[in-house]
Amino acid sequence: MTAAMDDIPKVELRGVKKRFGSKIVLDGLDLSIPRGESLVVIGGSGTGKSVMIKCVLGILRPEAGEIFVDGNEVTHLSGSRRDAVLRKFGMLFQGAALFDSLPVWENVAFGLIQGRGMPRSKAKDIAVEKLAKVGLGPEVAELWPSELSGGMQKRVGLARAIAAEPEIIFFDEPTTGLDPIMADVINDLIVSTVKDLGVTTLSITHDIASARKISSRIAMLYKGKIIWQGPTADIDRSGNPFLDQFIHGRAEGPIKMEVRG
């Protein structure tokens, strides 16, 4: 039983295609995230990393292909069946995406109160506890998101992502827009929370230092397809010119920057 369960990837994308107008963003993307792994997908801006995540979450609908979560197809689910799948997920958005009409603790407790109908006082206790996990004291709970710095907002976003104890967490550019020290603090937090919770994670980033730190596997997305993937330790000896150019940040190489998105 457990052996069979372990063989099923936590999340799997097969031949996923998505286009906006005439621009093809995902061109038959295949990717699987084994249970318990921390996969980081790297790739340039505008290569469809965010689109890929939004397809898995059902925020965007792919034109073709299939998406599986725990071996069940979820590509076309909607309504309460989609909600049931989404309960397995936590997501940290690029700009944290905190609700600025709600205080910090209600942001963290949002999924518990609205999604699961938990009483507010109990949800608040859990929110304060999750804030402590990301290194924020109870006094932060009463602040408003607009009163926080970018790094603090990311922490609150992380607390919100883990509040409902998800099985899978997505990180969208977790370190973008932060200074190098705060970026590393967030990286450490991600590593320790992932270890504590034993979750499967998928992160997208173009910050190689962050990718090395928070991943167990790395995949590279280029022109709508995964062109390389493997254990993080192997990225420096992949022999893949696209990956080499990207991780060393060279202007010269097979990847040409497109001016128009």
Partner: protein, 257 residues
């Protein structure tokens, strides 16, 4: 050929836009009757849409009533019928100007605010965040605004009617030499329940238009600050045009009763 292609493109984008709006409206209406209903949010929006619009709507209604009294006096004077001022003021305010003024003022105030708020939530991914937290954004954001607008606009217009008539009364008694008691008696004798209800029905529809256009434009905004700005402008322009168009059609339907 390019000219024809341009016409075709415009037409196609118009159709796509209409389709999107129809789907959006339908989904909003379906979610209005599906639990959970967020009562707290409805209350909050009623305050923002209705209560905080009172000063703006009240002031404009007062001045409109006053100007109306002056115009009718001038017009009536040409055939010796100055005495109709109270009658026409109350008719004009309750049936037409009260609802339209309230509709347009609230469109400027509220449709813009809704579009800016929801548009900002869209471009900062807060709407996607709602979805990932198992909360339907239509139900959480759109439904409370729609319900609050449809419920509070009629109350707002009743107050606007009273203030508009009062504006006419002040001008008529202060500068046109009308007797206050007779003015009020003429007003109350003349106005019918139908005058008031037709205005109330109209303004409920306007409330729906305002909230819908604010939410729709906010929901579909993209591209950062500029996109939110465009959404806000579109929300005010489209809701104002739709209000005036709906006003004509509703009037022609209610008039024939």
């Amino acid at each position: 050929m390019n000219f024809l292609a341009a016409i075709g493109r415009t037409f196609l984008s118009f159709l796509a836009q209409t389709g999107r709006l129809t789907v959006f409206t339908f989904s909003a209406l379906v979610n209005c009757v599906r639990p959970p209903i967020y009562w707290y949010l409805i209350g909050q929006q009623m305050l923002r849409i209705g209560y905080f619009s009172l000063p703006v709507v009240g002031l404009t209604a007062f001045f409109t009533g006053g100007a109306l009294a002056l115009q009718i006096y001038v017009g009536g004077n040409r055939f010796g019928a100055e005495a109709v001022v109270p009658n026409i003021v109350v008719l004009g305010i309750t049936r037409e100007l009260g609802p339209v003024i309230a509709g347009l003022m609230v469109a400027g105030r509220v449709a813009a605010a809704i579009a800016a708020e929801i548009g900002t939530m869209r471009v900062t991914e807060q709407i996607d965040a709602l979805t990932t937290l198992s909360t339907n954004p239509i139900r959480y954001l759109v439904v409370p605004r729609l319900i609050a607008a449809v419920v509070t606009m009629p109350v707002l217009v009743l107050i606007a009617d009273a203030i508009g008539v009062f504006g006419g009364y002040v001008v008529a008694t202060e500068s046109l030499g009308f007797n206050g008691a007779i003015y009020i008696k003429n007003t109350l004798d003349f106005v019918t329940r139908g005058d008031v209800t037709s205005g109330v029905i109209k303004v409920a529809v306007f409330g729906f238009i305002i909230a819908l256009m604010g939410c729709y434009n906010g929901f579909h905004s993209k591209g950062g600050a500029q996109g939110v700005g465009a959404a806000t402008t579109n929300a005010v322009v489209t809701s104002s045009i739709l209000i005036l168009a709906a006003n004509y059609f509703l009037t022609s339907i209610l008039f024939s009763r």
